[in-house]
């Protein structure tokens, strides 16, 4: 027998042990994934107020701004979840890359879905989008000429009238859709929820969320491009 001894690394602290393992990291990705799906569902629902006009949207935005504990509580939780999600993804990706140093000349994937195969690339695109999105609509750092503090509705309409901004947003929503399609199903596996009762349900939920959430978000720029919201 060659190689490492059969007894594994000793880590005193159970949190270190848990997060130090590949499965622990996947569980962290699943749990933070649930937090993020919950957040974007609420975010998307709020965005739909654009279709009810400037007053409804700006009123909602002002309500959120005026409620500091809610606003900052959400921001901190979402930021933490995002950091953990990305850290786990990066380290697991790096690990997978080193797990097969000599590549096959030919490995023929049999069943892996496109959404599963694009998880990592799509994740990177979403991270880029996220940074842009915050600099765009939250801080007004990019495109400052389109941004007026507090005028959420007007900012949105002005920004999405710019073709490349709308296009980038729509492409990102496509990436989000694929990310959800694999991620939502995958998180059930990772959390050990595979009872036969759930068999069809977890795939259906993944399909539903991967369609409903991105379409809800995309409805805003699409309505602006179509001239229905101005």
């Amino acid at each position: 027998m060659t190689g490492a001894a059969p007894v594994a690394v000793v880590a005193e602290n159970w949190v270190a042990r848990f997060y130090g393992s590949t499965i622990g990291r996947k569980i962290v990705m699943a749990v933070t994934g649930i937090v993020l799906v919950g957040f974007i569902t609420i975010h998307m629902t709020g965005n739909l107020l654009v279709h009810r006009g400037a007053e409804a949207m700006n009123h909602y935005a002002a309500f959120l701004k005026g409620n500091a504990p809610l606003l900052w509580g959400t921001r901190i939780v979402v930021l933490l979840a995002t950091i953990l999600h990305i850290h786990s993804a990066l380290t697991l990706t790096r690990r997978a890359a080193t797990a097969r140093p000599d590549r096959y000349v030919r490995l023929a994937p049999q069943v892996a879905t496109w959404s599963s195969r694009l998880m990592r690339a799509g994740g990177v695109l979403l991270a880029v989008f996220l940074v842009f999105h915050i600099l765009h609509f939250t801080t007004g750092t990019v495109l400052p000429s389109q941004f007026v503090e507090g005028e959420v509705y007007q900012n949105v309409v002005r920004s999405f009238s710019i073709t490349w901004v709308a296009a980038f947003y729509l492409i990102s929503m496509l990436a989000l859709s694929m990310h959800l399609h694999h991620g939502v199903w995958s998180l059930f596996q990772t959390l050990g929820a595979n009872h036969p009762h759930l068999e069809g349900g977890r795939k259906r939920l993944a399909w539903l969320l991967s369609i409903a959430i991105p379409i809800g978000f995309a409805s805003v720029p699409l309505a602006i491009i179509a001239g229905m919201v101005r």
């Binding site: 059969p6 000793v10 042990r17 995958s186 059930f188 596996q189 050990g192």
Partner: protein, 258 residues
């Protein structure tokens, strides 16, 4: 049948390998893939050349030794079949067939198509056992076991440890192997005392061996010659979570994901 083979040749663990092309002219559709390889080797030996090294033992689909990737698929194109049980009738006259070793950091190539899979043995040693009293075998019907548990344990116990799951996984993960062993033992009453220590120990060793993590591609299930399902992986994950939160006094496992 005429088959053109493109085979990975590597003279030793640290040598650089390359593909060599061989012509097999007298292939019968009734030959197994390994018998076809034997014929090619006979020919090579006749010409005074080094035969292709590949692992095999039982040649009846139960030992798990015959590891090779054929046209990008571990154990070749036929579902639920090991390489030794794959027959040449699965190919067409004139086909070009690429044969590579199982590739993973944890499966170093020894020579040509033969790889060292003792990393899987070490994962077993880290918890893939149960404690039993020595002496006479106990009365077989003494321990009541639910039908459903027996069925699933038996399905998981089909694993022959061939490593095709690792070879097929884009992440080179050994999750299906580990999950099959953990499920096979953990579903039965005899496996309960060590249930959570086993999960933590085997997952810890799996990580130490340098396998990748699971991202639920599902390729392992498709490649498995014994059709072991990814339900075992979900079960492993669930037991790992429970074990991490509840197991006492066991310091094994984890700490190597980065």
């Amino acid at each position: 049948m005429r088959i053109t083979l493109k085979v990975w040749r590597q003279s030793g663990p640290h040598a650089t390998g390359r593909f060599e092309t061989y012509q097999a002219d007298q292939v019968s559709p009734d030959m197994s893939f390994l018998e076809m390889m034997d014929v090619v080797n006979e020919d090579l030996i006749g010409k005074g050349k080094e035969p292709i090294a590949f692992d095999h033992d039982c040649r009846e689909g139960i030992c798990g030794m015959c590891s090779m990737v054929i046209n990008g698929m571990p154990h070749g194109p036929h579902r639920a079949t090991t390489t030794c049980q794959l027959h040449m009738r699965s190919f067409k006259d004139g086909d070009r067939v690429t044969v590579e070793p199982f590739r993973a950091r944890a499966f170093p190539v020894l020579r040509d198509l033969a790889v060292d899979r003792s990393s899987l043995d070490r994962v077993m040693q880290a918890g893939g056992f149960i404690g039993v009293a020595t002496g006479n075998a106990p009365e077989a019907n003494a321990a009541p076991i639910a039908k459903d548990a027996v069925d699933r344990a038996m399905d998981a116990a089909q694993c022959i440890g061939c490593g095709a799951c690792v070879a097929a996984c884009p992440n080179a993960s050994a999750m299906l192997f580990t999950a099959a062993k953990v499920s096979h033992l953990g579903l039965l009453p005899q496996g309960q005392p060590e249930r959570y220590r086993r999960v933590l120990g085997m997952v810890g060793q799996m990580d130490i061996e340098g396998f990748g993590g699971c991202t639920n591609f599902g390729e392992c299930q498709e490649a498995c010659p014994k059709e072991i399902g990814v339900w075992t992986i979900a079960r492993l994950n669930g037991d790992f979570l429970k074990g991490s939160l509840t197991a006492r006094g066991d310091k094994r496992g984890g700490g190597d994901a980065a």
